[in-house]
């Protein structure tokens, strides 16, 4: 009998993923014994798990190592992105319980599913094998399909889940076909080996590899909601339960970018000219479509959906540059985007009440005076989204655009600035409603639970501190780029 030689596994590389998976599975079991009204405690348990995971991440900082014969790697890039995922997951979990209680769908499974989604994202960020990346993406997607349709009583939520599932499966087809073509052209699925194989002129001139790259790009473009693969976003974001929308608009987007960056920057740098011209077009299209359509929206969740499309466009600007400044800009921006977007969604949840989401702009009339603290918090988030200094959004945007300029894409930066100028209009409109309209409601149903307060404080700190003193985080981001 022949023995199988198992290669070095190096479990410590996937320690964070393992911790989080174990926590998720434990929660599934604990869930059975928890009464319906107390499901919120599961949330706190998951946050404890997330904190432990976060701690386990910090150990690996600065000492990159790979494992499972090159299927995963734990480098600074992955760790930074995993930090973003964990922060966004923790913040979304903080605002989940109150919402689900209110809507009467507080099933405890929501927390394990969110954690599974996070595990999927983490695998995407650290996957160095197309297989790992793909499976991470699937774990993420499957959990999200369920989460989007989590509010079973609501038709819109059902519709969101189904739409997301159908279109997600459709785009997965392209992604997988692209991976297969890449495998055919290079004979491997490991990103490093793909890069090595693509060094040879015969491989890099192979049309199959170009097609593979393009199809993978479209698959990732779907995940990050870049035009023209963005159309699912508004419907799904609007229909999904709001905390899930908050989670979906940040984490999966960041994960999509993490995998996208790794595949293009590490595996296919030979095609830099091709993919940067493709991303150039996608960036312009995405920013413009996102911003211009957002101008028209009356529903604030939909507006933020389009705004999140536009933000994917800004990040694509930094991606197009493909240089150190642009890439570190992406990392920085993604992190600050997590804080500002989830913060904004937290306020949106508070404005709504059972059955009435109160998502129309008119529902915000006079809100700023009835709840000054929440009003100010919302303004901070909106200003950051609009990229007005000194919020983090401004620094991040500045970074992305200067990356593009350093790479010589001055027109792209100009289009970006133009877009960002246009975007102020719709963010401002919310503020106009909050402050310059007579209140029609007294907003007495707004109940600030401790979890929300913590979430909002973290969000404000996460928006303002990197905005005023971005030094530390930028340094981390610069150490975390892939080159």
């Amino acid at each position: 009998m022949e023995t199988i030689a198992i290669p070095a596994i190096n479990m410590s590389v996937i320690a964070p993923e393992m911790i989080l998976s174990v926590v998720a599975m434990a929660l599934l079991l604990i869930n059975v014994f928890v009464k319906n009204e107390q499901k919120g405690y599961l949330g706190y348990l998951s946050i404890a798990g997330i904190l432990v995971t976060l701690y386990s991440l910090t150990i690996g900082w600065g000492a990159p190592q790979d494992g499972f014969s090159g299927s995963v790697v734990q480098d600074n890039f992955a760790i930074f992105f995993k930090g973003i995922f964990l922060v966004s997951a923790a913040m979304s979990i903080l605002i989940t319980d109150q919402y689900l209680q209110r809507e009467g769908c507080n099933q405890g499974e929501v927390y394990p599913l969110m954690l599974f989604a996070t595990v999927g994202m983490m695998l995407m960020a650290s996957g160095t094998d197309l297989m790992t990346i793909f499976l991470g993406l699937e774990v993420l997607s499957v959990s999200l399909y369920v989460l989007a349709g989590f509010n079973r009583g609501s038709i819109r939520s059902n519709e969101a889940g189904l739409k997301y599932f159908l279109l997600g499966a459709f785009s997965t087809g392209f992604l997988l076909y692209g991976m297969a073509l890449t495998y055919g052209a290079t004979g491997t699925t490991k990103v490093v080996k793909i890069a090595a194989a693509a060094q040879s002129g015969m491989v890099s001139s192979n049309l199959m590899l170009v097609a593979g790259m393009l199809l993978m790009a479209t698959g990732f473009a779907f995940k990050v909601a870049a035009a023209p693969f963005h159309m699912w976003t508004p419907d799904v974001y609007e229909g999904a339960p709001t905390p899930i929308t908050a989670f979906m608009s940040v984490g999966p987007k960041a994960a999509g970018f993490a995998a996208f960056l790794r595949v293009l920057l590490v595996a296919l740098p030979v095609f830099k000219a091709e993919w940067s011209s493709l991303l150039w077009v996608l960036a312009v299209l995405t920013m413009t479509v996102g911003n211009i359509t957002a101008l028209y929206q009356q529903n604030i969740k939909r507006m933020l959906a389009y705004s999140s499309i536009a933000h994917a466009g800004y990040i694509l600007v930094g991606f197009t540059a493909g240089n150190a400044v642009g890439t570190s800009g992406i990392l920085f921006y993604m992190l600050s985007y997590a804080f500002m977007n989830i913060g904004a969604f937290a306020v949106i949840i508070l404005v709504g009440k059972k059955g009435e989401e109160n998502n129309n702009l008119a529902d915000y009339a006079g809100f700023g005076y009835k709840h000054p603290a929440l009003g100010v918090a919302m303004c901070v988030f909106l200003f950051s989204l609009a990229g007005i200094p000194p919020a983090a959004g401004f620094v991040g945007k500045f970074y992305l655009f200067s990356g593009a300029i350093q790479a010589g894409y001055i027109w792209l930066a100009i289009i970006g600035v133009l877009n960002s100028a246009a975007s102020v209009y719709y963010y401002l409109r919310v503020m106009i409603y909050m402050y310059f309209k007579e209140p029609t409601e007294d907003f007495n149903w707004v109940r600030l639970s401790p979890a929300f307060i913590i979430c909002l404080i973290i969000a404000i700190a996460g928006v303002m501190i990197p905005g005023v003193v971005p030094g530390t985080i930028l340094e981390l981001a610069q150490k975390a780029i892939l080159m």
Partner: protein, 663 residues
């Protein structure tokens, strides 16, 4: 002291935090107003200390950069949170904190009893902080933060009476127009940054570093593009053609706001920015020409409109636009010192006039309120003869009016004359200079005319206010009149620090002071300028001419708005030549109406209604409509059907593959 420059913006920030966070709890207006005023006053003291120290240094050492903390470091690009103290920023911080302190003090009286008193002071302090960041910023990014900050505060303050729809609309208009300008600013910044970086590997946005490297910049070309973008930013902030329409609307805000933001400080940011980057602007002769022509056009254009307005604050608003035009003329013809000088004197006299008008409105409001009347307290047709009831307000306003009209030896005379003389004599744009000068002269004439029209209608003649409440018109309290008096004195004597060399009774302190800042720009300018020698007699002649022009304006205003009213006897005796005209007032009135007032009014109306409403607003709304239509179209694509979405995605894939595979 120089090391403590960070204190200057810090004090207003503290004031903002205290009033913003606890103002609602404090309730006591004296305490709130006191904190706000004290905060900016402390900044003023620090500014004075810095100025003193700068004065003590030799001229070439008067540049100091203080890094507060490292801010953005990315590869070879670096932007610190840093402040730059040099003679130019010293002038600006003195104006901002000095005038700011007076206006804060004034606001305690003016805003008395208003709901949201604390909010007002918090915003005011926040504004001052942003403005100080703007003028102290050592790189374009810090300046941009201040630039955005003042825009935001302006928005908050214009919309202070948010329950009024017009106030909300005006605030929105101001914000949107400013954003158009900000866009220009950012593009200019990026262009310059990119050019230096890609051609010389100098990735910087620091003013001093750009200055040190400015010899590398070519004349024209990319510099023209960058400076035109910056200038677009300046037109937004400083209300020049074509982005000026927000400023008159901004008068919806409380009067101290109009005085501080829309006359003395924020609107001058564009002028300051050009001054700060004079060494870049001068390298683009085309841009300089555009600046000068736009400035001249705005100066004249706004002045004509000012003649047709009846709202006291609107007259002042158009006057501000017009005076900013003068400053841009100065910048455009390379007379940077003159522009900054006019900026300073204008801050004095215009702040004084705005506060004076506020005092009048305050008194009118109280009187009308007392009689339960609903007349418009800002309409000059309801005023008249107020000088007896409000002597201090009248006197300070009168002095400032003389100053703005350019009557020697008041401050406005020196600065305006300097600009007009430089426009005439500076060698940059050939014969175009003379055109700019001529436009400026006509605008000066109009200025004198409409300002005196305002004074005559408001303070002279018989009281047109309802007799019932006439006795309730009172002078404003001391807290309002003290700032007026201080500003009045400054408006009167402020010009003496910049007496032209020609007159020579005093050295031109101001020019010497700013010389090191603009030295380099003047150096570059010589590269393409064709120097002419001008005789002293010509300069004297033009100086005389500008006084005569002002006098003509005053004279016309006088005949039109005094002569047909029941004139006090002393005026008839003071101007005997007019006596017959007064005597025959009906036909002179007709004649003037026919020859001057009607055409002027209709021209003003035409420009105001025609150009403003149809063209400028039309273009702005048109663009907005176009975008909205596009947006609606895109929204139509969002049908909600999954198969449509899938089709969109498939089409996207097809197009992408087609592009790269069929190449």
């Amino acid at each position: 002291m120089l090391d403590n420059v960070w204190l200057i913006p810090l004090f207003p920030l503290i004031g903002f935090l205290i009033n913003g966070l606890f103002g609602k709890k404090i309730k006591n207006e004296g305490v709130i107003g006191g904190i706000g005023t004290l905060a900016i006053f402390c900044s003023f003291l620090v500014s004075c200390g810095i100025l003193m120290q700068l004065v003590g240094l030799p001229a070439e050492q008067r540049v100091f950069e203080k890094v507060i903390f490292p801010w953005i470091h990315a590869g070879n690009f670096k932007a610190d949170m840093a402040f730059l103290v040099d003679p130019l920023s010293a002038v600006m911080i003195m104006v901002v904190t000095g005038v700011g302190t007076l206006i804060h003090l004034y606001s305690i009286g003016y805003m008395h009893g208003e709901e949201g008193f604390y909010r007002f002071f918090a915003y005011l302090n926040l504004f001052c902080m942003s403005m100080l960041l703007l003028v102290l910023g050592a790189n374009m990014l810090v300046m941009f933060i201040g630039w955005e900050g003042v825009g935001l505060c302006s928005y908050l303050l214009i919309g202070y009476y948010f329950e009024k729809k017009s106030a909300g609309d005006a605030a929105k208009k101001a914000f949107v127009m400013n954003r158009v300008g900000d866009f220009g600013f950012l593009i200019g910044l990026f262009t310059l940054f990119w050019w230096f970086g890609s051609n010389h590997n100098i990735w910087t946005i620091n003013f001093m570093e750009i200055k040190a490297a400015s010899h590398l910049l070519p004349y024209g070309g990319v510099v023209t593009v960058a400076t035109l973008c910056f200038f677009l930013g300046a037109t937004g902030k400083s209300a020049q053609i074509p982005l000026y329409t927000w400023l008159p609307d901004a008068m919806e805000g409380p009067t101290p706001v109009s005085a501080l933001i829309h006359a003395a400080t924020m609107v001058t940011a564009g002028v300051y920015m050009i001054g700060r980057m004079s060494f870049v602007f001068i390298k683009a002769p085309e841009t300089m020409m555009v600046v000068a022509v736009v400035g001249a056009a705005t100066a004249l254009f706004a002045a004509t409109i000012g003649t047709a307005q009846n709202d006291i604050k609107r007259v002042l608003a158009y006057s501000t636009v017009s005076q900013l035009g003068f400053m841009f003329i100065a910048m455009g013809v390379g007379a940077f010192t003159g522009g900054i000088f006019h900026l300073m004197t204008h801050a004095f006299f215009k702040a004084c006039m705005f506060l004076g008008s506020g005092s009048v409105i305050h008194a009118m409001h109280h009187a009308l309120h007392h009689g339960h009347l609903h007349d418009d307290p800002q309409d000059m047709r309801n005023m008249g003869g107020l000088r007896k009831a409000m002597p201090i307000t009248f006197l300070t306003f009168f002095v400032s009016t003389f100053a703005i009209a350019g009557i020697p030896p008041l401050s406005g005379f020196f600065s305006k004359d300097e600009i007009l003389w430089q426009a005439f004599s500076n060698p940059y744009h050939g014969d175009l200079n003379k055109v700019v000068w001529a436009l400026g002269c006509i605008a000066a004439c109009f200025t004198a005319f409409y300002m005196f029209r305002l004074v005559f209608m408001t303070f002279f003649g018989e009281c047109r206010i309802n007799p019932k409440v006439k006795d309730h018109l009172h002078e404003s309290p001391l807290v309002i009149t003290i700032p007026l008096m201080v500003l009045g004195v400054l408006a009167a004597v402020g010009g003496f620090i910049g007496v032209p060399k020609l007159i020579g009774i005093l050295p031109n302190y101001f020019e010497h002071w700013l010389e090191p800042v603009f030295e380099l720009a003047n150096e570059y300018g010589k590269q393409y300028a064709h120097m002419h020698e001008h005789s002293h007699s010509l300069e004297w002649g033009l100086m005389g001419l500008s006084v005569v022009i002002a006098a003509i304006g005053i004279f016309i205003a006088f005949t039109m708005y005094m002569a047909n009213k029941s004139l006090p006897e002393k005026f008839t005796s003071a101007f005997p030549g007019l006596y017959r005209a007064v005597y025959n007032k009906w036909y002179i009135d007709e004649l003037y109406d026919f020859v001057f007032v009607n055409p002027c009014k209709s021209l003003g109306n035409l420009l105001w209604k025609g150009f403003d409403v149809v063209i400028v607003d039309g273009v702005v709304n048109g663009v907005a409509k176009l975008v909205m239509a596009f947006s609606a179209g895109l929204k139509g694509l969002q049908s909600g059907y999954v198969h449509n979405y899938a089709m969109g995605m498939a089409l996207g894939v097809v197009v992408i593959i087609a592009f790269y595979v069929f190449r």
